[in-house]
């Protein structure tokens, strides 16, 4: 991405591609130019646009943390033409990266609070760096409750990391699926119902949510029932996006541009623009 032309991506190499679930792969990506690589700094919640040249470009949350040894990581779910092309890339292949774009979770502001993380399906992707950042600075936060839902047990995205997460002090991981299988002994319930069942206290708490729109919508309602104020509820939004620069006018949610003003919003900022349950 030259300074001069913000539409031209950085050239990058795919270092590794790991199957996380039947339709989600973790892509580890390295920018070709060493200076660009060194300067590519980002925070949990920010996103980038990945290019599969010849197929197109699409936005993805960055799921790694800077200075992590695996480099830049993205969780890509196979859902359309660009994501299919990205999943078909092999280590050593070239792709494009533009970013980092957007705002981020103001995690410093949440220090000293109880954190409730609620993710559904691929919605766990942008929440993974949030969890890892909190674990990195574990003593700066109170209790961490993670509620992670998926369609089936094999669709839970970051399973290999669950043991690391729950090994940390004062962390609870609550899993739920829409449909179990013969091995599944856990919950079979929808995320909003699990929120209702666990009833986390709104006292000194921040709830961070990401998932399908329908899950977000009903979860917001349950959190409000529990006494969460709109400024205690934070979400990151997915939107159709082309430029990432606040110009193509596609990702408007009301007056906000998801790519520039977001993707991270408090419910206070966007409640008016979401469908009312």
């Amino acid at each position: 991405m030259g300074l001069d032309n913000p539409f031209v991506p950085y050239i990058a190499t795919l270092k590794a591609s790991t199957q996380l679930t039947p339709d989600i792969k973790l892509l580890s990506v390295e920018l070709e130019d060493p200076d660009s690589r060194a300067n590519f700094d980002y925070k949990p919640g920010q996103f980038a646009l990945l290019s599969a040249f010849g197929e197109g470009e699409a936005p993805f949350g960055i799921v790694s943390l800077p200075q992590q040894e695996n480099g830049l990581e993205f969780a890509v779910r196979r859902i359309g033409t660009v994501t299919r092309a990205l999943q078909e890339l092999e280590p050593g292949n070239t792709l494009g990266v533009r970013g980092p774009f957007g705002n981020y979770f103001p995690l410093e502001d949440y220090e000293g609070k109880n954190i409730i993380i609620i993710g559904g399906g691929i919605g766990m992707a942008p929440l993974r760096p949030v969890i890892n950042k909190i674990l990195e600075r574990r003593n700066n936060y109170e209790d961490l409750l993670i509620i992670n839902g998926a369609r089936t047990p094999q669709d839970l995205v970051f399973q290999p990391e669950f043991p690391t997460w729950i090994k940390a002090p004062r962390v609870k991981l609550e899993l739920t699926v829409d449909r179990g299988d013969e091995h599944w002994k856990g919950r079979v319930a929808l995320v909003p119902d699990v929120v209702k069942e666990l009833a986390p206290s709104a006292d000194n708490a921040i709830a961070i949510i990401c998932g399908p729109p329908i899950m977000i919508r009903f979860t917001l309602a349950r959190l409000r029932d529990l006494g969460f104020k709109d400024n205690q509820i934070v979400t990151t939004l997915e939107a159709k996006m082309k430029c990432g620069l606040g110009k193509c006018a596609r990702c408007n949610i009301g007056e906000k541009y998801v790519c520039q003003d977001g993707p991270v919003f408090t419910l206070e900022q966007i409640a008016q623009f979401l469908e009312q349950p």
Binding site: T94, C248, Q272
Partner: protein, 333 residues
């Protein structure tokens, strides 16, 4: 100082400009006036009273353009961005269209600025033409401009008997002035009078109407044909896609409209603006609320093209008036 150019002076001037510039001017093609690059001065058609079919925004944001091409060489990939090579003159644009360009500057020159737009803009001089007559659909004075508004051009022309008053507005304009023109000492003709609509009040009114049933009702007859966006001097939504064949891969940008079905549909199937009402609300809210909140000005110049061309008579002037009425009715009840 006001100068005077006869019609012959103007032709000679255009011919001299053509030596070192691309000149884009109104041209009559099969009865329609369009902005096009001209090769000879005589092609320029300044006498048309109504606005061109499309606004001249396409010179800066082309309907379709390649952003970069992808070169593959032995496994190595290189991206070659499109370059802007030549200076240009956009000749004979009306004040509303000049204001349209000034408004497009706001998002496109805002950092990080849009490279191709920025290059074309800095290498293009604007030579405006005052409107001596207004069309029934014109309402520029309600949108921050006027038929004789010279604030967004480098040189302003005003037609008078047998010729034109020529005023250099900017330094760039001064350098392009033809030599040997005499001073114009006559009267500058008065601009035509235009209808007024309550634009200012609406910007605040529209805020409370995001979830109002008004939008679905208004959109009921919309055919989402997108003509409003294509003819509009300030609509700038665009699409970006890759085109690939055996020989080459290009990333291409083209005009899009927020009225298109699927404009905001994500690959996962979620569409925050799935209905016509939600999309039409986006059009008017972007113009009358979001753009002014970000850049202070309403994103409409009152050129009247959407009014003229909408096949089902969705009229932004009526929308503005209705929004005012809906708000008044709400606050009254």
């Amino acid at each position: 100082m006001n100068l005077y150019a006869s019609k012959d002076d103007l032709i000679r001037w255009l011919d001299s400009l053509l030596k070192e510039h691309i000149v884009i001017a109104p041209v009559e093609i099969q009865g329609q006036t369009m902005f096009q690059p001209i090769s000879k001065a005589e092609s320029c058609q300044l006498s048309a009273i109504s606005n061109t079919v499309l606004s001249p925004k396409g010179w800066f944001l082309p309907p379709t353009e390649t952003l970069f091409s992808v070169k593959r060489d032995d496994g190595h990939v290189e991206l070659v961005p499109t370059q802007v090579e030549q200076d240009a003159v956009l000749f004979g644009l009306h004040p509303c269209d000049a204001r349209g360009i000034a408004l497009m500057d706001k998002p496109f020159l805002q950092e990080p600025s849009d490279a191709l737009y920025r290059e074309r803009r800095s290498r293009t001089a604007l030579i405006g033409l005052a409107c001596r007559q207004a069309q029934p659909e014109c309402f520029c004075t309600s949108m921050g401009s006027a038929p004789d508004d010279s604030s967004n051009v480098d040189i302003m022309l005003t037609e008078v008997e047998d010729g034109y008053i020529v005023q250099a507005i900017t330094d760039k304009g001064k350098t392009l002035l033809p030599k040997g023109l005499k001073e114009y000492k006559g009267k500058v003709p008065a601009p035509p009078k235009l209808q007024t609509i309550p634009t200012k009040e609406v910007v605040s009114a529209i805020k409370g109407l995001f979830n109002d049933p008004y939008w679905e009702k208004l959109a009921d007859r919309c055919l989402h044909c997108n003509i409003c966006a294509y003819v509009c001097p300030t609509c700038y939504c665009f699409d970006i896609r890759d085109y690939a064949d055996k020989e080459k891969i290009e990333r291409v940008r083209s005009w899009e409209s927020c009225q298109s079905r699927g404009f905001s549909l994500t690959a996962g199937g979620y569409d925050p603006r799935a209905t016509k009402g939600e999309r039409l609300r986006q059009r008017f809210c972007h113009k009358l609320l979001y753009f002014p909140e970000e850049f202070e000005d309403v994103a409409c110049v009152g050129c009247g093209r959407c009014v003229r061309d909408c096949p089902v008579n969705i009229d932004i002037r009526e929308v503005i008036n209705s929004l005012k009425q809906v708000t008044e009715a709400k606050s009254g009840s």
